[in-house]
Structures are given as C-alpha cells and as structure tokens.
Amino acid sequence: MQQVITFPELVTIMEQHPISIASRDDVLGGVYAAQGWEGRYRELMRLGRDLPALPEELYEYSCPVKGCESEVRLLLGITPEGGFWCWAHSEARIISGLIALLLGQVNGLSAAQVCGLHLEAEMEELGLMRHLSPSRGNGLKAIINAIQSHACCLSQQA
C-alpha cells in the first residue's frame, strides 16, 4: 500500500523532479505537436527514456504497482507547504512516457488541486485512452487511482 512521504529530507529530493506543472509545456510540448500515432509514440518513448528512475533513497520507500507486462515503482510526497509530488517509473518506455504526462499535470500543485483534476482528460485528448483499460496489463490506472485517492484524502485532512 502507498504511503505519502513527508520527511523533509526525502521531500526535498522529490521536489527536484524535472517534470512538474512549471516545466510542463517545455517537456510535453513535443507530444502535442507530434503527427500521427507514430510521431506521438516516438515522443512518448523519448519522454519515457528521459524520465528519471527513482534514486535509491526514494526507491526504498516506493511501492510496486504490478501488472502482467511490466512493473511500475511509485512514490507520493507532500511538502510542508502542501505541494504534492509524485515519482513513478517503469522499465517500459511508453508507460514511462505516459507517466510523464501524468506528472506534468500534478507535480507542484496542492493536494486539493490534484484532487480536483480529471487526470484522464489529457490522455483522452491525445487519443491514449487504450492505456487506461481496466486490464491490469500496465498499471497506469492504478497510478491514477493512487494519486487521486491520496490527493483527495490529504486535502480533506488539511
């Protein structure tokens, strides 16, 4: 089960994630600009290749999200100022690229803001809905569920 990290040492590392609301347009612009499915998936694979894996300090707190096809590591954190940060990574590049799309929507927002998002909308818009099937194949849906349920839960506590 996921925990939400609040240790200052770790959260400080988590805030360094290169993909956040702030860097979003720079990082994800290519996916939007890409032509056809081939272009889009090439961009996703590039994004996925660049997505940083969890450094060791974070890895040991992260949880596996299991699918039949690949494993995703996931860690959620919240800063003292209430900033919501998520790290996630998969060995598979396309999944990692899709994770990057998610992180660009949530990292750096408040939990309440994240709770209010419709995270699937962007993937719908990009024609990537097939990756959100309830099949346990990839775990993307499980990540979205974890992000959203923790964010909503945190924002109620606050």
Partner: protein, 404 residues
C-alpha cells in the same frame, strides 16, 4: 390483471416462443429460467467480435473483453445495490459461491465448537458445503425448524442462536415451496451475536429487486441461469471488509500478485477469488439479462406472477384430491400433492401432455423429511408465462387425476 405487456415480453424469449409452437408449456422456471434474445445476441456478439482473455494482455481485443467483463460486474453491483464493484465476485454458480465462502471464510475463521445456523428449508447446495466444513473443523450445525405451512418456526431462534453461532446461512426464498424466508428478522437477530449471515438468493432474484445494503447481509449468492442469464456463471456478493480478510480458495492465474517457487502473494478481491480464465461470455451474458430486467417494470412483473399463481391455485382447488403444500405469501411456485397418486406419476402424465413441471424432493430432502413428505409436484412460474399456460396446466392436471 396488472398492466404488464405479457405478449410482447413473451416474444423476447425464443425458447418460450418455440415451446408454444410445439404445444408445450414450461413451468419449471425454478430449476432454470429461459433467456431473452438479447442474452443470446450478447453471447454471439462476444464470440464473434470481442472474444479474448481478460486482465492479461493489453491488445485491442483483450481490452474490449476486459471492459465488457468489468462493466458486467458493475451491472451486477447495481442490480444488488452493493457499495462497490469490488464486492462482486464471479463464480460458476450459487453452489460454487457457497462453497467459496465455506472454504475461504469458514476454514479460516470458524473454530471447533463454533456453530452454523441453517434452516430446514435449505437447498442441498446450502447444506452440504456446511456439513463438509463442519466435519472437517468440528463445528455444530443447527437448523431453524420448518412448520407444516412451510414457514420457519422462529420461536426457537433465541436458543438456536447464541454466542457460539458464527455464521447463519439462509435462503431468501425456499426453492421447493416458494415461501419467502424471514431474512430481515434472522439477520437482525444474528447481528446481535455478531454472527455473519449468508443469504442464498437463488430463488429471489428472478422475481424481485434485491438490496444487499438494506438487507445488511454479509454475503449474498445467486446463479445466473435462474435469473434469465447463461449457464455456468454465478455471483458472490461479500462485504468488502470480509472479502479483504478472506484467504484465496482456488489457486491459479490472475489471482496472484507474485509467484515464486517458494510461494505466492495474492491480489485484492474480487480477483483474488477468480482463479483461472473466467467465464467471460457468462458474465456479460448475465449482465445482459439484468439489463433486460431493468427495462421491465419489475413490480408489475411480480404482481403479474402473483396473479397467475393465484389463478392457478384457484383453478386447481376443485381437482379431486388436490392438496397445496405451503402457506401464504408464496411467490411464483405452487408445490402440491394429489391424494392417492404418486407425484412422479403426475409428473409423467403432465409431461405426456407437454407440461414441464418438476417432481421429487427438489434437492431439499431435510425439509421433505421434516414435513413428512417424500416429494411434491412443483409448478414454477416466470413473468413470461401466461394465462393460457396456466389453463393448459390445470386442464392437464385434471385429466391426469381424473382419467388415469
């Protein structure tokens, strides 16, 4: 007669249309129900356009199949008014669902000396799994006695139910007489001793809506084939907090999280209890049947069934030797005897006249024993039966009784 467009409904059921053409009448609905055409179409469409294994791959077909399969689970959730989809476990039928609870919940949480309370009216499927468990674990089975009317004698409940009672398993409606069981009262009493309650809804779902939250039972089971769905599929509803602490029963693909040579860890409910490739066509076929039901006015359908049943009973009243078995409030089932004739002879003579009824102990031997009967003849109705069926039944019965 209540407003219910019987002739239009009847046309939705290909087998009923066919039997009518052949001059036969189907009154064995409590054994298994017939399927509306939409269920056949769903199954066909599934095999011709969607068939793939679920929850295992992420290619197009598999995604389609998984979506349909999980939507079907949602349809069942809605049908039972369960809190969440995760409380709905697919099984191969009501019998398998009861065995699952006995083997998973029962073997983990019941201790020697604990008691299970059943009623004398249960179907064998709600008796034998508990007997097997009791023998293995050293449990005691108790039975709420049945009165000659087919009602349960709740006067003994205070002694039958006690601190040692850990589980109560009770039919929602009895299959042999069609008597509704006092589930609300028994559930309330069981709660006082913190006993878990399983309700066997096999005979209820075809005739009425069910609300597991209102009932507040811990488990609810039924079979698809009795509620106008396909064969080989059934449902276990369980409160999530119970499913969550229950160990897996069967091992296999997709109920695992990780398997090594040394052991395995298991995934969350409901998949934890769905080892192996599931009956995908069955699940979506059942959902199709439930969606069909939701297009009907179920209240009106139930009233219509009562109307048919009352008519049947009234018309039979002057058949020489006719004896109704069971008391008031029966839904859609008429169980009876004819003085001086063996039930099986009646059954045969009815069959010769094209009328399908069932004869015998109806898999409820303990109840037959309690009532001092060796069996009954049972005519069981569904909302697609009509007055003509009832009249043909009564004429055939009269002929069997008076001319043989």
């Amino acid at each position: 007669m209540p407003i219910f467009d019987i002739e239009s409904v009847r046309r939705d059921f290909p087998l009923i249309v066919n039997e009518t053409l052949e001059g036969r009448v189907y009154l064995d609905n409590a054994a298994t129900s017939q399927k509306p055409k939409c269920v056949l179409d769903t199954i066909n469409h599934y095999y011709a356009q969607q068939n793939a294994n679920v929850h295992r791959a992420s290619h197009h077909l598999s995604t389609q199949a998984t979506l349909a399969y999980e939507e079907a689970r949602e349809t069942v959730r809605h049908f039972l008014n369960a809190r969440s989809r995760e409380e709905i476990v697919w099984t191969s039928g009501a019998t398998a669902a009861i065995n699952l609870v006995a083997n998973s919940y029962g073997r983990r949480f019941l201790q020697p000396g604990d008691e299970i309370l059943l009623s004398e009216c249960e179907h064998h499927s709600n008796i034998v799994p508990w007997q097997l468990l009791a023998e293995e674990r050293g449990l005691t089975l108790r039975y709420i006695p049945v009165l000659p009317t087919g009602e349960l004698d709740l006067s003994e409940l205070p002694t039958l139910l006690n601190e040692r009672t850990k589980l109560v398993a009770l039919a929602h409606v009895s299959n042999s007489l069609g008597m509704p069981m006092p589930v609300e009262r028994v559930i309330a009493a069981a709660k006082r001793y913190r006993a878990r309650v399983l309700i066997d809804g096999s005979q209820a779902v075809a005739h009425d809506n069910v609300d597991v939250q209102a009932l507040d039972c811990d488990f609810y089971v039924f079979s698809g084939h009795k509620v106008f769905g396909p064969s080989g599929i059934g449902v276990l509803y369980g409160k999530y907090e119970l499913l969550e602490i229950m160990p897996p029963w069967q091992g296999g693909g997709e109920m695992i999280e990780q398997v090594s040579k040394r052991g395995a860890t298991f995934t969350l409910p409901p998949l934890r209890f769905e080892a192996g490739t599931p009956h995908i066509a069955g699940a979506i076929g059942l959902a199709s049947a439930l969606r069909y039901l939701s297009t009907l006015d179920r209240q009106a359908a139930a009233e219509y069934e009562r109307y048919l049943l009352n008519g049947m009973e009234r018309l039979c009243a002057d058949i020489p030797g006719f004896q109704l078995v069971g008391g008031q409030g029966r839904t859609s089932i008429m169980s009876f005897l004819v003085k001086g004739m063996h039930p099986q002879d009646i059954g045969t003579l009815m069959d010769m006249q094209g009328i399908a009824v069932r004869v015998g102990h109806h898999c409820a031997m303990p109840m037959m024993e309690a009532l001092g009967l060796s069996g009954t003849i049972r005519a069981s109705l569904a909302f697609y039966n009509n007055l003509d069926d009832v009249e043909r039944f009564v004429d055939a019965l009269r002929k069997a009784v008076t001319e043989f």
